[in-house]
Symmetry: D3
Subunit: 179 residues, 6 copies
Amino acid sequence: MVERGLFIGRFQPFHYGHLYALKWILEREEEVVVAVGSAQYSHSFRNPFTLGERIEMIAAALREHSIWGRVLVSGVPDTDGVHSLWVRLVTSYCPRFTRVYTNDALTRLLFEEEGYEVHPIPFFERERLEGTRIRIAMAEGREWRDCVPSSVARVIEEVRGVERVAQLYRMEVARDRKS
Amino acid sequence: MVERGLFIGRFQPFHYGHLYALKWILEREEEVVVAVGSAQYSHSFRNPFTLGERIEMIAAALREHSIWGRVLVSGVPDTDGVHSLWVRLVTSYCPRFTRVYTNDALTRLLFEEEGYEVHPIPFFERERLEGTRIRIAMAEGREWRDCVPSSVARVIEEVRGVERVAQLYRMEVARDRKS
Amino acid sequence: MVERGLFIGRFQPFHYGHLYALKWILEREEEVVVAVGSAQYSHSFRNPFTLGERIEMIAAALREHSIWGRVLVSGVPDTDGVHSLWVRLVTSYCPRFTRVYTNDALTRLLFEEEGYEVHPIPFFERERLEGTRIRIAMAEGREWRDCVPSSVARVIEEVRGVERVAQLYRMEVARDRKS
Amino acid sequence: MVERGLFIGRFQPFHYGHLYALKWILEREEEVVVAVGSAQYSHSFRNPFTLGERIEMIAAALREHSIWGRVLVSGVPDTDGVHSLWVRLVTSYCPRFTRVYTNDALTRLLFEEEGYEVHPIPFFERERLEGTRIRIAMAEGREWRDCVPSSVARVIEEVRGVERVAQLYRMEVARDRKS
Amino acid sequence: MVERGLFIGRFQPFHYGHLYALKWILEREEEVVVAVGSAQYSHSFRNPFTLGERIEMIAAALREHSIWGRVLVSGVPDTDGVHSLWVRLVTSYCPRFTRVYTNDALTRLLFEEEGYEVHPIPFFERERLEGTRIRIAMAEGREWRDCVPSSVARVIEEVRGVERVAQLYRMEVARDRKS
Amino acid sequence: MVERGLFIGRFQPFHYGHLYALKWILEREEEVVVAVGSAQYSHSFRNPFTLGERIEMIAAALREHSIWGRVLVSGVPDTDGVHSLWVRLVTSYCPRFTRVYTNDALTRLLFEEEGYEVHPIPFFERERLEGTRIRIAMAEGREWRDCVPSSVARVIEEVRGVERVAQLYRMEVARDRKS
């Protein structure tokens, strides 16, 4: 069996930080399984894009950067607080893997309790390449295209993602103001 | 936007019938989205393999036959009888597609009611290349390897799939005898 | 508080048997709550119509027969075998009621265990006015319009219900032949 | 087919603002479908009343104001963040409709993405006729009866709604103080 | 840590066969965890008793036979075909255990795939001490009390279990006759 | 039938406050049913321990303090805001009981609406014996062992609970700092 690393994220959207991380893992592993988390969610400021849109972004970026051949992708839903089942959900929804790559503290905790080897991933220009920042930039009409592969920007524009993110951001701001 | 066809199946396991169908659709479409249905089920005779194992089989077959570049894969759970939501679940879990390819009558009905163009797929040696038959052959110790790409057979053996299918078949037969 | 009787059914479709039963209950109760069961299901031969379509049929029939004023309607989902919660689901999804009218043995058992008074309903031409029979008649191209109020027949035709039922029936027959 | 507008709300409780909005929509549409959202929730300060209680309030108000004949009501559960399925849930749980009337930004976004025509509704004394304000007034022992149709006030009193809302409000205030 | 064996069953009802099995396991293990499966189901002929009623029966039998001190009990819901999550659900709903005792083929398969040691349990008068047979005896008015500890019979009678089982059996027979 | 009181809590972890409350109830009731709430949750700072771990703690404490014989334990999941079903879920997941003992305002409200007699429980050194405080003490490396029975402390240490709570607390603090 081929050795694989697991790379988990929500990819809202898939940006250069994810791409660099993926390439960094590919230097260490024969193949990588990309698990697209919170698969069932969309149309919130935190999770604006559907699983289908995110898979489309990832596929576009993999092709643009010619790393298609060694990457497998699968969506994994959240278990909504039922954390004890989540690792097993990941292992049944994803191709087999040996090591886990993540910077998320809960993911690390859950996988380590199940006996997995978990590795951190170096951040790449974290100040700039971070999902929330990119979504806020989209919402506020500032530059965001240089944070994502150009093929990803194309998908976002085709699904009218900027309008959606901007609208969801306005709602979030309105809600915060209220409470 | 690229035009895509949707190819839906359970792929228990992914066999040459699926591969030929996929190639046939690829002659008609720029790209194909493979939707792996009943994603949440496994470990029954009808659905022995997990979503992760099925994605691994499909990826292996796509590589073996060098059609990797134009195919996108995503798992889609069953909605357990809540059929009115299923088409929308497919469209939110899968990259965008224009036409649907299926021989399943309910899938056809549901997509046509939502206004999609649905096409049948020619069968390829249906007598031999059919999921249930292949699983029975696995369970009864008869030849099944020539029904699936050799890379798929390897995945099945690595996950000890033949033993699992055989055991699940014995349970099903025992249950039928009882009732 | 006004006294109400509860009338539970799946109404697939709402036919004259239901209408006569409803009128019979209205002679005994100030008002009637019509609970549309299995609310989440549709597009199967047993449950072809959505909750929305069934509410539309019931509203049309109530108006056609001018009994609109004393009837309240609500959909109630199945609890999929979690029977202990079902009565409480009905009471929280429906306006308050005092007595239950049903011929279904499980409904009777569940409501009686919770202390409700449950009454049977006389059947009206049961041979002819029965959901399954009417759906089979629709599927086989035989007369079914005289079994339902004409306003209900109109709704069924507008949603192309006959074609749907016929298609679902063919699938069911095919499935039975297989197993 | 009759043309219908969809009017979505949580109706916690159904107040004069809702009634005026409904009348305003009835001037523009042949019929109105009232979708009672967050159907499964109750016994929180945000959603104190059950679906059954809300349907009872709406029915009472419609009768009191003699607009019963052109209004259809159905409850629709929340999809808990799975926003991509919500529009389809509404269309399968409600009688058919053509246009959507709402002032909720997310509802607008979701329906517009699915191709629906969405209209805002003028507010009627928004300062006074707003669900949260009315519930706080109930909880603090201030006047609230003049904000709702008198038949609605009767239902609220019969189910001892003021006591329930007051108790839920005290819990919410206690929780806020803690965090 | 104390070593524990896991004993899984549905206990519909808890009978002498279960008691003998439990005693047999207690000879081999310091403590036993009794997992009450299909916890969410009740009021069907296959699963007539609620989880609460089954826990009450087990507690009564343990006390009557003075094996209370070394037994821990917990209910575990079915995962409705999502078999890949079931073992993890058991381990998170039950106190820690080392070995599994079961005669159920699927339970064996699932636990063995996760690396557990699984042992069969000798049957005790299987012809007589089997859940389905005991429920049929209850339904048909034949002797069943000698198949269960007398304290269990008392619980069954207090919850009017015989009447419930008889009624559920009649429904099942009627359904079978129909199809 | 024996008279039983219901004692509901989350027991994160089971501490001396719970033990004293349980003993206080046992002076008033023949037997006590301990309902372990939020059964499905674990691995959050609010609910760090699984149901299985909590049942193990409770069993250990009952034995250490020799009150094992008159106490029955069962886990009950949260209904996630669907409060109208929760009381019925408790009654179907737990052995029969007559009175409810709780200091939780929502539990009181829900049980009283269903007609139950609800009693408050005196607090025992509330300043010190409170779940959140104990978890913070665990997380901050301060003394917590004297707040729980020594057998409970042993279970917590065996499952490496202090490390888990500390890690979950760090995440919570980080999240709060962000928002």
